[in-house]
């Protein structure tokens, strides 16, 4: 009883509107800011029409790993929409969501996909066409630190996958990413930081980045200064989404949170994703936007290293392949 009085008092203290409408917090990573701004407005309208309920959706953005850590430390996220599966796995490790989270929604819980492409200076003065050009001596490559940035991990694995498939085997791939990272003069901690270093500071000949981030940069910095180069093959990046069970069960928002994520899979949701330069998984919407995305042969994470836990352990954990690149005497 006392607790109920307290909670009512708390609600009154926070403000009456909190009682009148439901809120939903979507904790996401950096480049999805524009995507979810669009999506939230459309979903709120849909939800109002369907149930009569007004829903206020708040979004939080930051580095994917940092965002997952905030949720672990108690940030009340109803849903997470992160850059890579490893960060959602971390929530499962802390029992916030079941281990089977990835099977709960279609397409491995990834409602849209993206890939890693290159941004180069206008006119492509260094003639960068494919991954092989990024390891040439004297070429300066900008990417974020894979240990702290989700996008940089996809970029690293894209380079790994390219070399593994072209030159055969992990040893060749290791050699390739070592050469690549020797060409990197600055390691920012997040993908946005790298974009600024490349586009604003004018450092580097080529930036490895998310496809959607590349399109956004062109919009932001103008096609007169930079242009996109799509390599011959790249990785199929699948940013996953999940309801946070611990939070929605406590707040009583499960139905809403599940509907929110499912709406991402509808033609409307897919359309918004495509407009924000994410590759839709719905074949019809994909066909409609086919001209926007360059056709590129994509390999999956499963084809090159298995799953995220394996990738993290072998490549990005302390003592992994990435650390070895910077060990002296190697």
């Amino acid at each position: 009883m006392l607790r109920r009085i307290l909670s009512v008092l708390a609600a009154v203290a926070i403000g009456a509107p909190a009682l009148a409408q439901t809120t939903l917090l979507n904790v996401s990573y950096d480049p999805t800011r524009e995507l979810y701004q669009d999506f939230n407005a459309v979903f709120a309208k849909y939800w109002k029409a369907k149930t009569g309920e007004t829903v206020a959706i708040r979004q939080s953005h930051g580095g994917s790993g940092k965002q997952a850590r905030s949720v672990i430390d108690g940030l009340e996220a109803d849903v997470v929409t992160l850059a890579l599966g490893y960060d959602v796995d971390a929530l499962a490790d802390r029992k916030l969501i079941p281990d089977t989270w990835q099977k709960r929604l279609p397409h491995g819980s990834a409602p849209y996909t993206s890939t890693i492409v290159f941004l180069v200076r206008k006119g492509n003065p260094r003639g960068i066409r494919d991954w092989d050009d990024t390891v040439k001596p004297g070429v300066s490559v900008i990417t974020a630190n894979p240990k702290t940035s989700g996008g940089a991990r996809w970029a690293y694995l894209a380079a790994w996958g390219y070399a593994q498939r072209k030159y055969g085997g992990d040893a060749a791939a290791k050699d390739f990413v070592q050469k690549l990272f020797r060409n990197v003069p600055v390691l920012d901690s997040g993908a946005r930081g790298s974009t600024v270093t490349f586009a604003e500071r004018g450092v580097g000949d080529v930036l490895l980045t998310w496809e959607n981030e590349a399109f956004l940069s062109i919009k932001e910095f103008g096609a007169g200064r930079i242009e996109i180069v799509v390599p011959s093959t790249s990785i199929l990046a699948e940013p996953p989404v999940s309801v946070v069970d611990k939070v929605v069960d406590r707040r009583g928002t499960r139905k809403l949170a599940e509907a929110y994520l499912q709406y991402l899979y509808t033609p409307e949701g897919q359309e918004i994703a495509a407009r924000n330069f994410y590759r839709p998984i719905d074949p019809k919407v994909a066909a409609k936007h086919a001209s926007k995305f360059t056709k590129v042969k994509l390999f999956t994470l499963a084809q090159i290293v298995g799953d995220w836990r394996k990738a993290q352990k072998a490549h990005f954990d302390d003592g992994g392949v990435f650390d070895a690149i910077y060990q002296p005497g190697k």
Binding site: G63, G65, K66, R69, I72, A90, D93, N145, K147, T148, V184, P185, V186, L187, D188, S189, G193, E200, R201, G202, V203, Q312, F316, D317, D318, D323, Y326, Q327, P328
Partner: protein, 286 residues
């Protein structure tokens, strides 16, 4: 700091006439515990979840050692640069009057107020290859942004007010008659500075140095933008802590933090002892 401690000690043993010592000390300890000791002890407890071997392995990895070297080395260099130029600025502000003096005086505090991230972004923009200063320096082979030199530049920026603001009041209180007496007794200008002025301001200068150093060791916001963050070269220890956290390695992160804490504490303690010694040598005047 040690001055106050020493004075407090002598007051207690002499049964001071000032009332309220127990109450005041109680509040001091409670406040320090809440604000400083309890949060810090959390770091130690988290680290204690590591075995000793795991702890040693975590903090002696080559990358971690390199980051310690950079963090402490750059902080020392920056504090030394600030001690020299901070003294000069304090001197100019105290000894001369000129138009715009108040303005310059206010400028000194700006690094205190500015969000460090803003400082970092501004410094990076200026010193990178296309920036105002960078385009002049880089053709001459001096790279600042994205090198350890950039780290020092950022730390100099955030540490400057500490030296100026600790030395300034001491210089203001300095009796000019002492200088006049020294010169009338035949001391050269250099001797006057070296034998009369410097011993008086040295304790304050050392305090300013220590504060600037302590601030620089823990600085994250401004450095992160200009450092380039290359492992083994320009990666500061606080960034490694962040990196460990990104990998959900809380214990590893706090292990680095504990080493930084202990090292900083020992260095500050040594500096305080040095200051105490300097004060005694110069005749115990405060």
């Amino acid at each position: 700091m040690s001055v106050e401690a020493a004075r407090g000690l002598s007051l207690r043993t002499r049964h001071s006439v000032l009332p309220g010592f127990n109450l005041a000390l109680g509040f001091t300890l409670l406040y320090l515990s809440l604000v400083v000791l309890i949060p810090l002890s959390a770091a130690f407890f988290k680290t204690a979840t590591l075995s000793w071997d795991a702890f040693v392995a975590a903090v002696t990895a080559p990358r971690v050692i390199a980051s310690f070297r950079l963090s402490f080395g750059a902080a020392l260099v920056a504090a030394a640069v600030n001690a020299f130029f901070g003294l000069m600025i304090a001197w100019v502000l105290v000894r001369y009057s000129f138009p715009g003096k108040k303005l310059i005086d206010a400028l000194v505090d700006l690094p205190f107020a500015l969000p460090t991230a803003v400082a970092g972004i501004a410094l990076t923009a200026i010193y990178s290859a296309k920036g105002w200063l960078g385009q002049l320096l880089e053709p001459n082979g001096i790279k600042v942004a994205f090198t350890p030199l950039g780290v020092v530049v950022a730390l100099v920026f955030v540490g400057l007010p500490f030296v100026v603001r600790t030395v300034q009041p001491v210089l203001e209180d300095f009796e000019r008659e002492l200088e006049e007496a020294a010169s009338s007794l035949g001391a050269t200008r250099l001797q006057t500075f070296h034998r009369v002025i410097l011993p008086t301001i040295l304790p304050a200068l050392v305090t300013g140095f220590a504060l600037a150093f302590a601030r620089a060791v823990g600085e994250y916001g401004s450095v992160i933008f200009i450092a380039g963050n290359m492992p083994m070269i320009s990666e500061i220890a606080p960034l490694l802590i962040m990196t460990k956290l990104e990998q959900y390695d809380y214990a590893g992160a706090t292990a680095i933090a504990v080493v930084m804490l202990v090292a900083s504490f020992l260095l500050l303690l040594a500096i305080n002892l040095l200051q105490w010694w300097a004060q005694r040598r110069s005749g115990g005047k405060s």
